[in-house]
């Protein structure tokens, strides 16, 4: 089976674009990724499109209506916040299987403002507030409290994640926000769901990201190897049975399993990973994943952050893009935007936020309910 390479990747600057349609957002990112690769739609053999909110609305075909109805097959993917990573992985599999040589993967989302989750079903009465909370800030607050219960993680440590990622975003012109946000500001912001304050919740933004991927033979034929990022592992898991996870979503086990499978597939260990873009949908979530991804022992996660190990310049910088907390989290675009960020570092093109000498990078997303997608990427040789 051929290795698969990312030969073009890009994302639009995340923001709020209510006047631009979802297919138009996707079309912009698709054109940017094609330009990055120096290819056109006539080179593309299939489109893998990720979008969550309009999952039933044939977003992929509508993107082609904007950029070229070449008649290629389109697969529309929805997998909660793992939607973009799933679309990318479907494309990866099609090349691994030898069905296609060059495919395009696009993730898009238009979010609007406000709380996600909760509310209960259509029948009966709304259960929010009566049967606890189904809102995302509360669900991830509870996941963080589990970490506190087990390991004594503090409120300041959870808030510190947000300080770090907002700091990183000041170096990323494509982030929604580029504002230094000190600890007092994070902790004194409006409490949404203890221990998550407003500045510890990801930003709802509109966005799109795209990647052109191809087989090794095709990348060589096209003369694209000098900037081609090799996909060393692509893994997707769901959450296995746990005694609580039908009532309390478990984002840990599916991440641990995906990580160990990915490290094994790539033949590398977590010590060899130079940077990570992980799913910091809430500040409480990031700390859990340090241990889940093997970056440190789970009980050391708070100290790992405090010591600056996950800050740019540390042992393993995490979310140097600003993360979902500050770059923004357009659900279906996030998985591919993470891949773009890692590719940018592996190509040495990340400017002020460049992780020096980055050779291997890891992306991680979680779709609640749950899906975990992990990719390990290697710099051009």
């Amino acid at each position: 089976m051929s290795d698969v390479y990312v030969v073009g990747a890009d994302m639009i600057k995340f923001g709020r674009f209510p006047a631009i349609s979802v297919p138009k957002l996707g079309a912009r990112a698709a054109h940017m990724a094609l330009d990055d690769a120096g290819l056109t739609m006539n080179d593309i053999q299939a489109l893998y499109s990720g979008n969550l909110v309009q999952a039933a609305a044939m977003v992929g075909q509508r993107i082609l209506a904007e950029i070229g109805q070449t008649g290629i097959p389109v697969v529309n993917c929805a997998n909660a916040c793992a939607t973009g990573a799933t679309a990318f992985r479907e494309g990866w599999m099609s090349i691994k299987a030898g069905v296609y040589d060059v495919v395009l993967c696009v993730g898009t989302e238009q979010m609007g403002k406000g709380l996600l989750g909760g509310g209960g079903g259509k029948k009966g009465i709304p259960t929010e507030g009566l049967l606890g909370s189904g809102t995302m800030p509360a669900v991830f607050a509870e996941a963080g409290m589990e970490h506190q219960r087990k390991y004594g993680t503090t409120l300041e440590q959870f808030a510190g994640v947000s300080v770090k990622n907002h700091h990183h975003s000041t170096m990323n012109p494509k982030a929604m926000y580029q504002i230094e946000t000190p600890l007092e500001t994070v902790m004194n912001a409006e409490m949404i769901a203890y221990p998550n304050t407003k500045l510890m919740c990801s930003v709802n933004v509109d966005g799109a990201a795209a990647a052109v991927i191809c087989s090794e033979q095709k990348a060589r034929e096209l003369g694209l190897m000098s900037r081609a990022v090799r996909v060393r592992a692509s893994v997707l898991t769901s959450d296995p049975y746990q005694e609580r996870n039908l009532q309390m979503p478990d984002v840990n086990t599916c991440t641990q399993r995906a990580a160990s499978t990915a490290y094994e597939a790539a033949g590398v260990g977590p010590d060899e990973i130079d940077l990570v873009e992980l799913h910091d949908c809430f500040a409480t979530a990031e700390i859990l994943h340090y241990g889940n991804l093997g970056l440190c022992e789970p009980e050391d996660a708070g100290a790992f952050l405090d010591d600056g190990q996950t800050t740019l310049g540390g042992k393993c910088p995490v979310n140097v893009s600003g993360g979902l907390l500050s770059k923004g989290h357009p659900l279906g675009a996030t998985g591919i935007a993470n891949i773009y960020e890692i590719c940018t570092h592996l190509r040495g093109e990340a400017g002020k936020r460049q992780v020096d000498g980055a050779k291997l990078g890891l992306t991680h997303v979680i779709g609640l309910g749950s899906a975990c997608g992990i990719h390990i990427l290697e710099r051009p040789s």
Partner: protein, 146 residues
Amino acid sequence: MSSTASNNSEATGLLPIAPFLRISDQGEAHLEGSRCKSCGAVFLGERATCSKCTTRDQMEAIELSNRGELYVYSIVFRSFPGVEVPYVSAVVDLEGGGTVKGTLLNVDPDPEKIRMGMPVEVIYRKAPRKDAEGNEYLTYYFQPRG
């Protein structure tokens, strides 16, 4: 606040807020679970197949305990329009198996006053909301125990 519905008949005529909340003809309420006869896993509500071991048609209905301990919580300050805040969203492990999520009452919404691992009990109350047809519902809550 009214007494628990499990020792009077106030639940009669109310609809359950969730399918796993069972109300007998006498108005006695309990949370229903199921236990896999093959592997022993306990689930909230009725089911035919065990998602732990995949065995089919070996689930037995059980009455879950009204006693448990607080596993984790969050104090919710921002919710949807019409939902009174703050409130404590809680995940509770019941004695004898089964985990259920709900709202923890009769405790200050203050992390200093809430201890993970604290004993709690399940109580049953008329829900403060009606559906579009005017039907009334029975819900459950947690409160500190002992």
